[in-house]
Structures are given as C-alpha cells and as structure tokens.
C-alpha cells in the first residue's frame, strides 16, 4: 500500500542551519525528514511518510509574508501531500506566527488537514487558533518528545475523517469556536448546581467565559463639516420595499447599498425595515426614523454639511455575528473611502 505523504514545516534553527544569524534565509525544500521531522515520522508510524521538509528563516518569513507563503505553497504542492504539520514552535514568537500563517494557507489553498503546535503565550496562538488546530505545548523544545505524538495523532484523526473532539480530549488550544452538544442535565439543573457551588465558595466552571472585544483608536475630528461628505450606515434593516437583496431579518449574512440620490425624504412607499428585533410599525410608517434623510438633506441645503453621500448602507443588527458585521464593515468601508466619504453616521435601533 502506498504511504500517505506528509509535508513538514520548520525554521532555520530546527533545520540546523543556524540561529538568529541565519533567520533571513529564504524558503527551501528538502526530501524526507529534517531535525524534529524524525520524531514526527516515528509518531505517525509506517502508514505515513514525511515526504519533504520545507524550511524558512523566521525573519525572512516575517518580512516577506506573502511572497514566502506563495513560494512555500508551491513547494508543498509538488509533493501532493495528504496532511501538513508546522512546528511545533513552542514559545518562539516569529516561528509561531510563521507556523500559523503557513498552516492556514495550506488548509485554505490545498484543502488538506493541517496541525501545528505552540505554547499558549506564543503570539501566533492567539492569531491563528480560530483558523487551525494548534496543539498546546510547553514553552521550550524540551517538550518535543511529548508534543510531536499529540500533533501526529490529531493529524491522523483528521486525515481519516474521525470526529475531532474538544480541546481537553485532543490537546489543542481552545479555538473559541462554539459547538453544540447535548449535556447530561438540562440547563436549569446545571444552573442551580452552579449557583449552589458558587454560594458555597466551591469551584465551578462557567460554560461561557465573557468575550473580549477589541478596541480601535478614534480618528481625529472632522475639521470642516461645511465641506465634508457625510454617509449614513445603519443596522436598522432599512431596505427598498420588497427587500431586493433578501437580507435576513436576523443574523444577517449580507448588507445592501441603496441610492438616495435626488431624494429629500425616506418615503414609506420606497423603503421598509426588515429588522426582526423590534416593533416595526413606527419605522414602516416613517423610515427617516432610522435613516434621517429628511434632516440631513435639510442640513445639506443649509450648508451645514458639504454633501450627503448619494447612497446609504444597511444590514440587520439583531443577532448578526461580530464576524459577519466586521466583514461587512471591512468591505463597505473600502467603498466609502474610495467614494471620498469624510464622516459616517451609523444608526442602530
């Protein structure tokens, strides 16, 4: 039987090429195992073959991310592998980022199972844990003996299509992906039990640690509003009557861009709300309550603002994941920038 081919990624240091002074070497490929690849081959067993090792200097990768990724991908593709392993990187920060980045690219581009390994405080862990499975390692290479078998075991499970269990069972860093399961007891009974423990000062474990939201520094104020172009964006679900883009009433997966060129007011004959989170009666009657076109047009005429952007952007806020909302924002912000918008009023219900 033909062995399943695996490609392994390591850095200059683990390849034995050299330390910091060799961190600038460009990508290269070698047949078979190199350095820690031996431990990987042993852990994978006879049915698998580490067909090639791809190597790149940490600094080189960091400074030429796109180019290095492309070169490495081409090298990896040559071997038509069934799986890919990067690292482990332990607590080496740049190496961790490289492992996460290349593993993510391989999974996306080649569609094969990938595994890497890192210490929890490696910056690469936070950056890539949502994208790829990262086996939790200790902070130094002394842990190689223990971590490589875990990585190999997880990769083998993935390649054979077995169900991947939780972080505790498989040994990977929790990815922050919420997965449903049926618990032994119903939620209310678990809640009462948790409360009894909390009141007794006994240990308990929350089923959902509070999320952390990132921050963005505010932009400088608009200096000259009288010449500024102002745009409206809303999460209030205002769309043309009939909802041509079929935006969902809740948990939206898309947004719409709608013209208000030449209009002085949001007419209920032309616009409606499809938002599933509130009593729509008032807004159906007067969509200006969410997209304040009448007031903004007046201010434009009075010269208080330079210009009202000739379209608004809308989606439904309720239940829409931060991930989707972020994606929408990234996309339409490019358009707003390209269209010379100087300031945005974002309205939410």
């Amino acid at each position: 039987m033909e062995k399943k081919r695996i490609v392994h990624y390591i850095n200059n240091f683990f390849a034995g090429i050299g330390g910091e002074e060799k961190a600038d070497i460009p990508p290269e490929v070698r047949e078979g195992v190199v350095g820690p690849g031996l431990a990987l081959q042993t852990a994978l067993g006879d049915e698998y073959e580490v067909a090639a090792t791809v190597i790149c200097g940490d600094s080189y990768f960091g400074e030429h991310m796109d180019e290095a990724t492309e070169t490495l991908l081409a090298m990896i593709k040559e071997y038509d592998p069934a799986g890919f392993v990067a690292g482990p990187a332990f607590n080496a920060g740049r190496y961790g980022v490289a492992c996460g980045s290349i593993a993510k690219a391989v999974e996306q581009e080649l569609g094969i199972p990938v595994v890497t390994g890192m210490f929890t405080e490696n910056p690469g862990a936070d950056m890539y844990k949502k994208d790829v499975h990262i086996i939790l390692t200790k902070d130094s290479a002394a842990d190689m003996r223990k971590s490589m078998p875990k990585m190999a075991a997880l990769l083998k499970k993935m390649m054979s299509g077995e169900e991947i269990l939780g972080p505790a069972e498989e040994g990977y860093i929790e990815r922050g992906i919420r997965v449903n399961y049926f618990a032994e007891e119903r939620g209310s009974a678990r809640g009462v039990e948790m409360l009894v423990r909390k009141m007794a000062k006994e240990p308990f474990e929350t089923e959902y640690p509070m999320p952390v939201f990132d921050r963005v520094a505010p932009n400088p104020a608009v200096k000259d509003m009288k010449h500024a172009k102002v745009a409206v964006v809303t999460s209030g679900g205002i769309v043309p009557v009939g909802n041509p883009d079929r935006i969902e009433s809740s948990s939206a997966t898309k947004y719409g861009v709608y013209s208000i060129e030449g209009k002085d007011t949001m007419s209920p004959e032309e616009f409606m709300t499809i938002h599933g989170g509130y009593d729509r009666a008032f807004v159906l009657n007067n969509p200006n309550l969410v997209v304040p076109l009448d007031a903004l047009r007046q201010l434009e005429k009075e010269g208080e603002i330079g210009e009202l952007n000739n379209y608004f952007i809308a989606t439904t806020g309720t239940g829409t994941s931060i991930g989707n909302a972020k994606g929408f924002g990234e996309q339409f912000s490019k358009k707003l920038v390209a269209d010379g918008v100087d300031a945005v009023i974002l309205t939410s219900t």
Binding site: K130, I164, G166, P167, E174, R175, G176, I177, R178, V179, N180, Y181, F182, A183, E184, E185, R186, G187, S188, A189, R190, G191, V192, M194, L195, V196, K198, M199, A200, F204, T206, E207, Y208, P209, M210, P211, F213, R246, E248, S249, S250, S251, T253, I274, G276, G277, Y278, D279, R280, A281, G317, T318, G319, S321, I322, G323, N324
Partner: protein, 428 residues
Amino acid sequence: MKLELGRIKIHDVQFGPETKVEKGVLYVNKEEIEKLVLEDERLIGAQVELARPGESVRIAPVKDVLEPRVKVSGGGGIFPGMISKVKEVGSGRTHALVGAAVVTCGKIVGFQEGIIDMSGPAAAYTPFSATNNVCVVIEPQEGLETHDYEAAGRMAGLKVASYVGEAGRNVEPDEVVVYETKPLQEQIAQYPDLPKVGYIHMLQSQGLLHDTYYYGVDAKQFIPTFMYPTEIMDGAIISGNCVAPCDKVTTFHHLNNPVIEDLYKRHGKDLNFIGVILTNENVFLADKERSSDMVAKLAEFMGLDGVLITEEGYGNPDTDLMMNCKKVSQKGIDVVLITDEFPGRDGKSQSLADAVNEADALVSCGQGNLIIEFPPMEKIIGTLDYVETMIGGYEGSLRPDGSIEAELQIIIASTIANGYNRLAARGY
C-alpha cells in the same frame, strides 16, 4: 402559597365526539374547537389537526404552544386576566394534561414564528416533537392589522388550551406534586441554615410579537415585582411574543418553568427557594436602567444570597441581562446566568451582544446559528410559504422537494434561554 399539581399523563391524542381523557388518551372534538376559535370575528378560518411524536409531520409557522390545564380548586381560574377574571392564582389544586399540547399556527404575523418537526433529525431540538399536539391552524381576515392578528392568535391558543384542559378536571391524576412557598419571614425561618435563593425572571416586552402578559397586564407596563413561584403554574404569565423562534418562552414553558421546578427540587435540601422577581426587557435605555435598579433593590430587600437570572431573546436584551447581573452582584449576591448563544454560523464570534465582568457564572443553552438539515415531511400543518423570511431562514432555505436548510434558530424553543433543554454549547 401552596399548590397541588395533578399530573395526568397523556400518551396519545385522537379525534372523538366528546373532548375527554380516557386511559391516558386525549380525545378532542374538532368541530367544537373550530367553533370556539371562530367566535373571534378577526379570524375567518380555523382548522384542527393532530400531530403525534414520531410522525412525518412538520408544523409551521408556529405562534405559541400551551399545555392544557384546569384549576380544580383554590380560587381563580387558569390564565387569569386573559381567560379567567383577574384573581390571584397559585393555591389549591390544578390538573395538567402532561404530554399534550395545543399548538397555534398559520399565516405569519412577523418573522418570528418557527418550525416543529415531529420526527427526523430536527425533532431532537424541540420539546414539542415529544408531545401529542392539537394544532390549530388559524386564518386571519383579509387585511387584518398585525397587532390585531397577533392578539387574535394569542387568544385562540389560550381559549383552546383552557377548553382542552377542562377535560382533566375530574380525572384522577397519575401523580400529584406539591409546591409550597411561604411568606418571606416564614420561608426564611423554615430553613434558617440554607442559603436564600431567588429567581429573576426576565419577560420579553418589546412591542409587537415581543410582549408577555402577567395577570393580563403587558409586562412593559409594570415595574419589577415579586411573584410566588406557584402563580406561574396556573397561567399567571402567558406569552404574546415570538422573539426568535428558538428563544421563544412559550406559554407551555411558563407553565412548566424549568428553573422554578429545579429550584423546588433542591428546596429544603441545599437551598431555600424564596421566590421569583419578575422584570421586563424594554426598548428605552431609561427603562432598562430603572428596571434593573429595582430588581437589585428587591433582591437585596428579600435578603437573598444567590439568584438565577434568565432572559428571553437576544441582542439588546443581553444588556438587560448584564445590567441585572452587575447590579445584583454589586449588592453582594451570587449570580448565575442562563442564556443561549449567537456566535455566527462558524461559531467564531462573540456569543452575546453585551458583557460585564460580573458575569462569571453562565450556563449555555446552545448556539442558535448552527445550520441544520430538515428532510422533507409527508404532511405539513400550516404552511412553508414563509420559511425563507422567518428568523433562521434565508434565501434558498426551502428546496422544491420540501426539505429545508436553515439555522437552528428557526425551530421553536430549540435554544430557549431558561434551561428547559439539554442542548448546550462549549468551546472547541
């Protein structure tokens, strides 16, 4: 206040000339129910159909689900302020047809009504695939205003549930469970060494399709108040909302509130269940601040050591949940929250719209964005016309063969945030 709840177990439902319970079988008179529903001139059509566990049946769009109950003694009647006159309930004896349910469905009011499958993979997510359902398909008058239609549908469910519940009045229950909560001082004195626990029950109250009623009063019009736990078992709270289908606390769930049931189970053993604080989830920030202030004040005044808090809905009610959590915690009271999660279809986003540091003990009722498959069913009760615009549905959800692909949240009470189900989510 002490209530004896007589549980009459129902294992089948059939049509019959007389509405009655015999040997665990519920017989219903189709014509009488239809006539009862059509007394409301806002409705021009009513059709009764039966759905039993395991059948190849899909019910949609479901508005409410109710358990038939009847007040046997103790004063007041079932659904006070709605069906019966306003009079305090929660004492004496009540009979429940356990295993039977009344389901109202028909042309959609908003986006918020949901689906029940009686068999197949989607059935596991709703408790109503396991009940013997008397489904009432209603049809509104042409052009009926949505608020009126919602009210008519709500009343139809309450009327039919009361009518069917009457059949249990003179039936000997299979089991009688006694629930008792005494006035505050006596209750504290009964188990002086056990921690005093309360339940903060947040009622959805955001307007059309988002209202809940307590003794007939719209919850957004009351200020937080105390309730004996047994009042709810006689229908003091009824649902007038659909929120998102997965989140809906149906009238059935109010009658069978799982937190109240599970607190009673450990009452006198490792906790002293003092009672329920009812509050709302309103649409103005000032109301949210006021209500959560009052909830914390009541919790402190009752001398509670710990509370469980449940919410209904998601999005901005998460703020009410977090305000309640924070303010009650600041009174030195231990808090556990029960809620469901909406982290997006890939499960990678934050599950709640709001967060506070005090929320360190949270029970998950599952994530509602997961996409699931609904195979075609032989029989549809109601209509599938609205699947793609219902919450959880999207363009392309309904396929020509009648199968559906949609988010879990399209199923009635699938991630209900009061802990009724075993579904939960964990981090992978």
